[in-house]
């Protein structure tokens, strides 16, 4: 590699001839490149599995081989120092192999139960200076696994809340359930920092969604200078943004107008045009949705439903949010039947009873009024509970 006098280290890429020596379209590495030997050997030959204790799985293959998996909660936002420590652990215990799960957990695999327990103790023994666990073992079976989430204030331009922070607070609050398996069924919690849900939470047992409550402001001075107005107009999914001319400091300027009662606060126009800021400290917050699932087990997959329309952002610890999530989890755990997911339980007992038991306030915000599907959520029956 070449280093120029400004310290820029060049690899060999030539900006004058971008196609020269370019490698493209090579895709990911093949999935079996990094299989631990026991996985490679028994691919497609697994017979059954058992969760030996929270966070430790044992899979048994046809020939009798066993693999013990130790699962730890990971933060999605992760430094290379942390990844290198994970690598040190994998080198020490697992022959240099490890994997991630869909829910941001990390899994280490060994072929001996004693080794699994030593690995577990090693992982549980590592803490950050601030006191939190680096690699808490758990997240299996009928418990609360790791949350999936989005970027939030760490890196996103349209969030209505942070992601990593509220996730940390909620996981702290339900940590005992991450470390145990005493729920009626798995409870999947997820957080998306705005309604666009780049991390979809719409089928989670508990989905936390950042919501804006104020339409974007229009910075008339800058709109035409920073943005191409037709693009901002086209970005709006509800046709609430339209081109207009306004008086600004005595001059006519091109800008946009926003039909406020049409705005669904998605922030798409801000993506196209930085002169249409949407975030608002007072307006923004979190809605709670419950009862979704993606598994086909017993009942069909289903969407989460909004049961709390708005909780203000309360950084750094989001006390109202965490208290509400914890309450929902506790009431569910105390009342649902074995194997019953949160949504199946709510449907069985009825939403009247759900609100009664959880103590959540039912407000008009929770009745669907968005286009056609709304009608199908109203009650067309005399069957209801007083």
């Amino acid at each position: 590699m070449d280093r120029n006098d400004k310290g820029f280290i060049a690899t060999g890429y030539n900006p004058q001839k971008p196609m020269e020596n370019r490698i493209s379209d090579i895709g990911p590495h093949k999935y079996d490149t990094y299989f631990p030997p026991v996985i490679k050997k028994n691919f497609g030959k697994w017979l059954y599995h058992e969760i030996l204790e929270p966070g430790i799985l044992m899979h048994v293959a046809e020939g009798g081989d066993k693999v013990y998996t130790v699962r730890v909660g990971g933060t999605r936002t992760m430094s290379i120092s942390h990844i290198r420590e994970l690598c040190d652990i994998a080198d020490k215990h697992c022959g240099g192999f490890l994997r991630w799960t869909t829910r941001n957990n990390i899994e280490f695999m060994v072929t001996d139960e004693g080794a699994a327990k030593a690995l577990r103790d090693d992982l549980n023994g590592r803490k950050f200076p601030g006191g939190s666990f680096k690699f808490p073992v758990g997240g299996t079976g009928a418990g609360i696994s790791n949350m999936v989430h989005t970027q939030g204030w760490v890196h996103c331009h349209t969030p209505a809340t942070d992601a990593s922070g509220p996730v940390k607070c909620v996981m702290d609050a339900v940590f005992d359930e991450f470390k145990s398996m005493r729920m009626p069924a798995p409870v999947r919690i997820a957080l998306a920092c705005c309604i666009n849900m780049c991390g979809a939470v719409h089928c989670s047992d508990i989905g936390l969604v950042g919501i804006h409550r104020k339409p974007p402001m229009v910075d008339h001075e800058w709109a035409d200078k920073l943005c191409e107005i037709p693009l901002a107009v086209a970005a709006c999914p509800t046709a609430a943004v339209r081109p207009t001319q306004v008086e600004y400091k005595g001059a006519k300027v091109k800008s946009v107008g926003i039909k406020e009662d049409r705005c669904m606060y998605c922030g798409n126009c801000y993506t196209m045009c930085p002169a249409l800021p949407i975030s608002d400290g007072e307006g923004d917050g979190i809605a709670i949705m419950v009862g979704g699932k993606v598994s086909n087990r017993i009942s069909f997959p289903k969407f989460s439903k909004v049961v709390v329309g708005y909780i203000p952002n309360e950084p750094p610890r989001w006390p109202t949010l965490t208290k509400t999530v914890k309450k929902i989890v506790e009431v569910y755990a105390a009342n649902a039947r074995k194997y019953e997911r949160l949504g199946d339980w709510a449907e069985r007992i009825g939403w009247e009873t759900f609100f009664k038991l959880t103590g959540l306030e039912f407000t008009h915000h929770l009745i669907d009024d968005f286009r056609d599907p709304a009608y199908y959520t109203w009650r067309q029956s005399t069957q209801f509970k007083f």
């Binding site: 971008p18 943005c227 191409e228 037709p230 693009l231 970005a235 993506t271």
Partner: protein, 78 residues
């Protein structure tokens, strides 16, 4: 083929004063007799020839003439 590319470039130039970025579909509309995959080949060639460039909102992608538009610069990055 060169004529087809010119159609694309002319179209973009004609719109440049109001809109510098266009969805893929805007180009398929220019060629009613061509399938989307053929139009894509033309656009890909134009990108590789450094005449067009992509612009993305993260969720959607648009095409425009290289360097045109109000958000073309990389915000003062050098």
């Amino acid at each position: 083929m060169p004529e087809d590319k010119d159609i694309i470039i002319e179209y973009l130039k004609s719109k440049e004063s109001t809109k510098s970025k266009h969805y893929f579909k805007d180009f398929t509309d220019l060629f009613p007799d061509k399938g989307p995959r053929e139009v894509k080949k033309l656009l890909t060639q134009l990108v590789q020839e450094e005449i067009l460039e992509f612009w993305s909102s993260g969720s959607t992608t648009m095409y425009g003439l290289k360097g045109s538009g109000k958000q073309a610069g990389a915000e003062g990055e050098s």
